[in-house]
């Protein structure tokens, strides 16, 4: 299995931000992490990427503990894109995407044909080939997000962790990013874990969903089972119902704007 973790716990001072998190992924699976703000989604992703040391438990890539791997070894297997990453304004898309090859070239080796091809592919997959020489400050929010995804793709890692990749994007770019995620999974067999706020997008795109609340795992299973469990309404404290859109597709969550109707 590409990525697993068992009893993963993370502590920020006295607060347990993640408590005994369990995850096991199949190759090519798309996994959504959902949960209210502060439920531990970002923490879980960072612990899986080995960026924060867990207080207990461990994450493992292909059975090897992440904590025992060098940063470069991790980066060859796993790419992680944090929320709203920052880069120098004068950096161009091409320069940013090039950094994705660092795990392969390291400090000394020069860029080979293989590396240039990976960069070209990453730019092409995100539709940025023609913009490659633009600096990041010249880009729209959607283009910048795609540039970062492109840099992660250039790593050619089998596992991709995305922290809210669609936040701050308009609906057009949101669909584009989700479509890219889907293609990577189905065509390239990339295993994807993403924290995401939009429940319907999570249900539509993912194979399985993990629901977190206050650092604890409340649900781990298929979207349809989550819809039937009633946990969404309970965890997010909203009223709504699941509507069938098509027989072969997962249901759509229709949220009631209770506070507004209640006030009227």
């Amino acid at each position: 299995m590409p990525l697993t973790c068992s009893q993963l716990s993370v502590r920020y001072g006295p607060r347990l931000a993640l408590d005994g998190f369990e995850l096991s992924l199949q190759k090519g699976e798309i996994r959504a992490l959902i949960g209210p703000n502060g439920s531990g989604k970002s923490t879980a992703l960072q612990a899986l990427a080995g960026l924060i040391a867990p207080a207990g438990g461990q994450a493992a890539i292909e059975g090897v503990a992440v904590a025992s791997m060098s940063r470069r070894a991790i980066a060859r297997k796993l790419a992680f894109l944090p929320q709203q990453p920052a880069a120098p304004d004068e950096m161009t898309i091409a320069q940013l995407v090039r950094q994705g090859r660092f795990p392969h070239v390291g400090l000394f080796r020069s860029y080979a044909r293989r590396d240039e091809e990976a960069i070209e592919w990453a730019l092409e997959s995100t539709g940025l080939t023609s913009l490659a020489d633009r600096t990041l400050q010249e880009l729209s929010g959607g283009e910048r997000q795609r540039a970062w995804i492109s840099a992660a793709l250039a790593q050619e890692a089998g596992i991709l962790l995305l922290d809210e990749p669609t936040s701050f994007l308009d609906i057009g770019y949101q669909v584009e990013v989700l479509d890219l995620v889907h293609r990577l999974s189905r065509e390239k067999g990339v295993t994807i874990v993403m924290a995401i706020h939009d429940i319907n997008q999570a249900i539509a795109v993912s194979d399985r969903i993990s629901l977190l609340e206050k650092g604890e795992l409340r649900f781990d299973g298929e979207p349809r089972a989550l819809a039937e469990s009633g946990l969404i309404e309970k965890t997010f404290r909203v009223k709504g119902r699941f509507v069938e859109v098509a027989p072969d597709k997962p249901p759509h969550f229709d949220v009631e704007l209770a506070r507004i109707t209640g006030a009227a």
């Binding site: 790419a79 120098p88 304004d89 400090l107």
Partner: protein, 344 residues
């Protein structure tokens, strides 16, 4: 999308040749011009192996050693500034940010105060002081201050902001102690200390250049190896680590390199203000989006600016020359302000 970004990218093929040419030109100007009027023909004949003994001694024992010392120090201060600005992600960083200048000031002060009791000075105290050891004393102090700040920041998790805050705090304390010692204990040694503190190339010899040379050579030799980490350290730690960088190790290596470059240079020429701050900004401005050009441009401009600054100081003051540190500070401010205006 602004109109400016649609303008075709300007070519930069001329940049490096132009930089190399300006290094050569500033070197020639500094050799040919000086307080003592040596006719150009005499300078040429000295350089070709002939010439009068006086002209020979002016060129080879006074001008060239100080020019070479200045160029080496300029390169080191500029590269140290570029590294610090990049890894702390603080555009105002320079060697005083990590306490190197202040630590060096303190040890140089202490050294001059205490050697009086160790060495038995003759009637003329100043001439008898072991000034040959000043660079080493300054360098040790600079490295020690950088080390203290690094250890403090390391314990507190090494974020760029914490390095900056630690550096300012420790630097202020070291500086205050040095000034207190000078004020309370000074006498004849004050003159040497003041000249050193303002940053000066006065009476620098081949010994000074030879002291710096290994640091400059080693510093330039590691540049290709630190280039990729330097690019990655522009990102936040989680991003850099996700790209496969051992953040803590590479940050420490680069901090050590910049500390060694800055401390050895400050030891020899004193804390020349603004070179470490302004030169990287100038290089960045000229290189634009071509990051690979910033390092070579910083090296070239570091040499040029110290050479020209020193030449201006020599010519402006006559026999009582103006220290290079004063020139770079006075000229550095308008340059910095002009660059800031161009930066969005």
């Amino acid at each position: 999308m602004t109109a400016a970004s649609r303008i075709p990218r300007r070519s930069n093929a001329w940049l490096l040749p132009a930089a190399a040419a300006s290094v050569l030109l500033s070197l020639l100007a500094a050799v040919f011009l000086g307080v003592v009027d040596v006719p150009a023909a005499d300078v040429v004949s000295v350089l070709t192996g002939a010439g009068s003994p006086e002209a020979h001694s002016i060129i080879f024992e006074i001008r060239l050693p100080r020019i070479v010392t200045g160029m080496l120090a300029g390169i080191q201060l500029a590269v140290a500034g570029l590294i610090l600005q990049t890894i702390t992600r603080n555009p105002l960083a320079d060697p005083s940010l990590i306490g190197v200048s202040q630590g060096a000031t303190l040890t140089v002060t202490l050294f001059l105060l205490f050697t009086v009791y160790i060495f038995d000075p003759g009637s003329n105290t100043v001439a008898e002081l072991p000034v040959a050891w000043l660079p080493l004393a300054g360098m040790v102090g600079g490295m020690a201050a950088g080390g203290i700040i690094y250890l403090l920041a390391f314990r507190l998790e090494l974020s760029p902001l914490r390095i900056t805050l630690c550096g300012i705090a420790i630097g202020a304390v070291l500086h205050a102690i040095a000034i207190g010692l000078i004020a309370g204990w000074g006498s004849a040694r004050i003159e040497i200390i003041l000249e050193w503190i303002s940053g000066s190339l006065y009476a620098r010899t081949w010994d000074h250049a030879l002291f710096l040379l290994p640091f400059t050579v080693a510093g330039l030799a590691v540049l290709p190896l630190i280039y990729r980490p330097l690019v990655l350290l522009q990102f936040d730690a989680p991003v850099a680590r996700s790209f496969g960088l051992s953040y803590r190790r590479q940050f420490s290596v680069l901090l050590l390199v910049s500390c060694a470059l800055a401390a050895s240079a400050v030891g020899v020429v004193g804390p020349i203000v603004f070179v470490g701050l302004v030169v990287p900004h100038l290089a960045r401005f000229l290189a634009g989006r071509h990051f690979a050009l910033i390092l070579p441009m910083t090296v070239a401009l570091g040499a040029v600016i110290v050479t020209l600054g020193d030449l201006a100081g020599r010519l402006a003051g006559g026999a009582e020359e103006v220290p290079i540190g004063v020139i770079t500070a006075l000229a550095g401010v308008p340059v910095l302000l002009a660059l800031l205006r161009k930066t969005p």
